[in-house]
């Protein structure tokens, strides 16, 4: 009897080709779409074409599954998603940090849930359309970057539980996005020409400021206009509240200066942002919390390559423990190390683990 594989279907081209690949690999596939969000509740359009979780995307997932003779089910996880991802997303912004909701979703919802559903359905594996690869060596499983460097998504996978790797198949890891589209076109899949999905799946218009305003109006309304300070604490002007700024942001600061100014720090306690010239945003140290290792936990200090933002470059750094906290010292200073973002560790192409950036004060 064929082994069953639960395939995570978002209704996009990647997950459709994932399904195709799983069938080609000789497995019996079951398509599952997780419904994570109800757009219409927060200023989105349920019918917009490229939102996963929108009815049109779920419909496309169903069409592709039917074409391939695969059962498809939609499971409602809106409650858990709201609690674990969206609430956290809003709280992080309110605390002056810049969250990464995709990481949180993979770490706390997607993998655990899919593994649980796979067990219920008698499936041995789960498969997703992430551009990353899973390798095995002497019974040990680890994640490698996707072959398509521009598309590599290993950055968002650092938080998934290590024990799920042996049950996970990532069939697109060796392909480029163009190859995936070509496969979809060749098989005339309904999703072949689906546009790329949005940056933040639950914010239909990608406008996080509008979203937070609508999602937590009571909390946001308490945030009045704030002060914009220079690095010495001198007031340079007013701003419309810290929540509207992200570390590293240049546009929209509203000050004139011979050299461009960037947001260097966000301070919710006194509703201020500190701005400085580009060079002042360079730092060679940060703390890391909520660490997760996808290799065997290394000995410290541990020299590794660190990536501090999605699609960012890797930088050499050393992880050590100081007063029970993890600290990363970078060999070269890094621009705009942003609290709340993920720092992900690599050894060549292998994803070693990651954590959440904290300020080193």
């Amino acid at each position: 009897m064929k082994e069953k594989v639960l395939v995570a279907m978002s209704g996009g081209v990647d997950s459709s080709v994932t399904l195709l690949r799983i069938i080609e690999m000789g497995y019996e596939a079951i398509g599952i779409t997780m419904k994570l969000w109800e757009y219409k509740n927060f200023g989105g359009n349920n019918l917009q074409e490229n939102n996963c979780c929108a009815v049109s995307s779920i419909n496309k997932a169903k069409l592709v599954c039917e074409r391939m003779g695969v059962p498809h089910y939609t499971i409602d996880f809106t409650g858990s998603f709201k609690e674990n991802v969206v609430d956290n997303f809003v709280d992080e912004y309110l605390s002056g940090r810049t969250p990464n909701p995709c990481v949180r979703c993979n770490s706390f919802i997607k993998w655990d849930t899919f593994i649980e559903q796979a067990e219920i359905l008698g499936a041995k594996y789960i498969a997703t359309g992430h551009y990353a690869q899973i390798d095995e060596k002497n019974g040990d499983y680890f994640i490698k970057q996707g072959a398509d460097e521009r598309k590599d998504q290993s950055y968002v996978l650092w938080g998934i539980p290590k024990e799920t790797l042996s049950k996970t198949i990532l069939p697109l890891g060796a392909l480029t996005k163009e190859e995936v589209r070509d496969i979809a076109r060749e098989h005339k899949l309904e999703t072949a020409e689906e546009p790329e999905s949005m940056e933040i799946c639950f914010i239909a218009d990608n406008n996080y400021k509008r979203f937070i305003n609508e999602y937590a109006p009571d909390k946001v309304s308490k945030i009045k206009n704030g002060k914009t300070l220079d690095e010495e604490g001198k007031k340079l002007g007013n701003n419309d509240g810290y929540i509207n700024y992200t570390v590293g942001q240049r546009r929209g600061i509203g000050l004139t200066n011979p050299n461009p100014l960037y947001v260097k720090e966000i301070n919710p306690k006194n509703n201020s942002i500190i701005v400085g010239e580009k060079n002042s945003l360079l730092k060679d140290i940060c703390k890391v919390k909520e660490l997760n290792w996808l290799i065997e936990t290394p000995d410290f200090p541990y020299e590794t390559h660190c990536q501090i933002r999605y699609n960012g470059r890797k930088a050499e750094g050393t992880i050590s423990i100081e007063e029970n906290e993890y600290v990363v010292n970078f060999k070269d200073p890094q621009l705009a190390i942003t609290p709340g973002q993920s720092i992900v560790f690599y050894n060549n192409k292998t994803l070693c683990g990651g954590g959440i950036i904290k300020l080193y004060e």
Binding site: Y73, D76, I120
Partner: protein, 374 residues
């Protein structure tokens, strides 16, 4: 692919072959517009009117009291929107079909006062509960005859009497009852009853509304004055004919079907009783054939998916447009804990089911539960 076993007749029924045949024939032959003067139009007109008479005779009301609509949701909308104005009070239940429940919530936002009565622990609404909610501005009472998730039967006759004594209009969504039991409208104090063809082996997209003579409603759809001005639009001739035929067949074989379904249900419950499966049949006074069952420790969604992959269709929870589902709302409303509600599914038995099918259902459930139970 194995034979599909369908245990979801409360959601919809397969069309009777005899109905499908006359619908098909009418689609080809009776294309005339019933409003046209020529013979082709007259022929269509007469098909619609004969269907109306047939349905009225079976439900024991006047021919002019039957209005054809696109189905249950539209009929419910015609009544609630047609009767209620700002400042009026509506009494309904908190486990109505969404076409009443969500509409009532919408009307509430527009200034209609609404009381949502929660079902009792036995799964029914009592006449006493309804009576105690009556106010001076109560204009309409809308209580379903049979709840779709539980199969529980509400005391429509008593509620109708209370409405009548208080000069309040009374509507009942009777879609789960008609065709499975005899509905005699002359014996109930009722002003509106909702009819839906696909719940009694008729076509989808067609339904009806019993609207007592003398009551004037504002139409939802204005236009050419069809259906006595209450529902404009060229009549869906073949489906109306199909609905009449389906009701006729259901009515003729009512006792036979009831007997068969009762036997099948008892057989299934007997099998469960003699197994080591921990279960509970929810609701007390139930229409036979609709069973809401809690299988303790077994998530309903997981049971549904596993059964489906083995060719057996059942139902879990309140479906939504994306095809996902939440815990059955009716169970929560009657006071069940959410974790138990999540372990509850609806199995509804139609006339096409045989004893062997029940055995297969039972055995498959046993196998799945022994594998997935926590």
């Amino acid at each position: 692919m194995t034979k599909q076993l369908y245990f979801d007749i409360a959601a919809t029924t397969p069309m009777d072959i005899a109905v499908a045949e006359i619908v098909h024939k009418a689609n080809i032959e009776n294309y005339g517009n019933p409003s046209s003067m020529h013979m082709s139009g007259q022929k269509s007109h007469n098909i619609v009117e004969r269907s109306r008479t047939s349905i009225a005779q079976i439900l024991n009301c006047k021919t002019s009291e039957i209005i054809f609509t696109s189905g249950g949701s539209e009929s419910n909308n015609i009544v609630l929107k047609g009767v209620l104005n700002k400042g009026d009070h509506l009494i309904t239940s908190s486990y109505e079909h969404p076409s009443v429940l969500n509409l009532a919530k919408h009307l509430e936002q527009n200034g209609v006062e609404v009381t949502f009565i929660k079902p009792l622990k036995n799964g029914s609404i009592s006449a006493k509960q309804v009576k105690s909610e009556i106010k001076s501005n109560t204009k309409l009472i809308s209580i379903m005859y049979v709840n779709n998730e539980l199969g529980t039967i509400n005391p429509i006759s008593e509620i109708g009497d209370i409405a009548s004594e208080n000069e309040i209009l009374f509507h009942s969504d009777t879609v789960q009852f008609i065709g499975k039991e005899k509905l005699d409208l002359s014996k109930i104090n009722i002003d509106f009853a909702t009819i839906c063809a696909h719940k009694f082996y008729g076509p989808k997209g067609v339904g009806g509304l019993y609207c007592k003579n003398g009551i004037i409603l504002n139409p939802l759809i204005d236009g050419g004055g069809q259906e006595n001005g209450l529902r404009a639009g060229t009549e869906n001739i073949s489906s109306i004919l199909g609905m009449a035929k389906a009701l006729e067949i259901s009515n003729d074989s009512l006792l036979e079907n009831k007997k068969k379904i009762l036997e099948l249900e008892n057989y299934f419950i007997g099998l469960l009783e003699n197994s080591n499966i921990q279960y509970r049949l929810n609701g007390v006074n139930r229409l036979k054939g609709i069973m809401n069952l809690t299988f303790f420790g077994v998530e309903g969604h997981g049971l549904l998916m596993n059964l489906d992959m083995q060719g057996i269709a059942i139902s879990y929870g309140s479906a939504c447009s994306s095809g996902s589902a939440n815990a059955p709302q009716a169970l929560i409303e009657m006071g069940m804990e959410e974790n138990e509600a999540r372990c509850s599914v609806r199995i509804s038995i139609g006339k096409m089911i045989e004893k062997d099918d029940i055995k297969k259902l039972f055995e498959t459930i046993c196998n799945i539960i022994s594998r997935i139970k926590k």
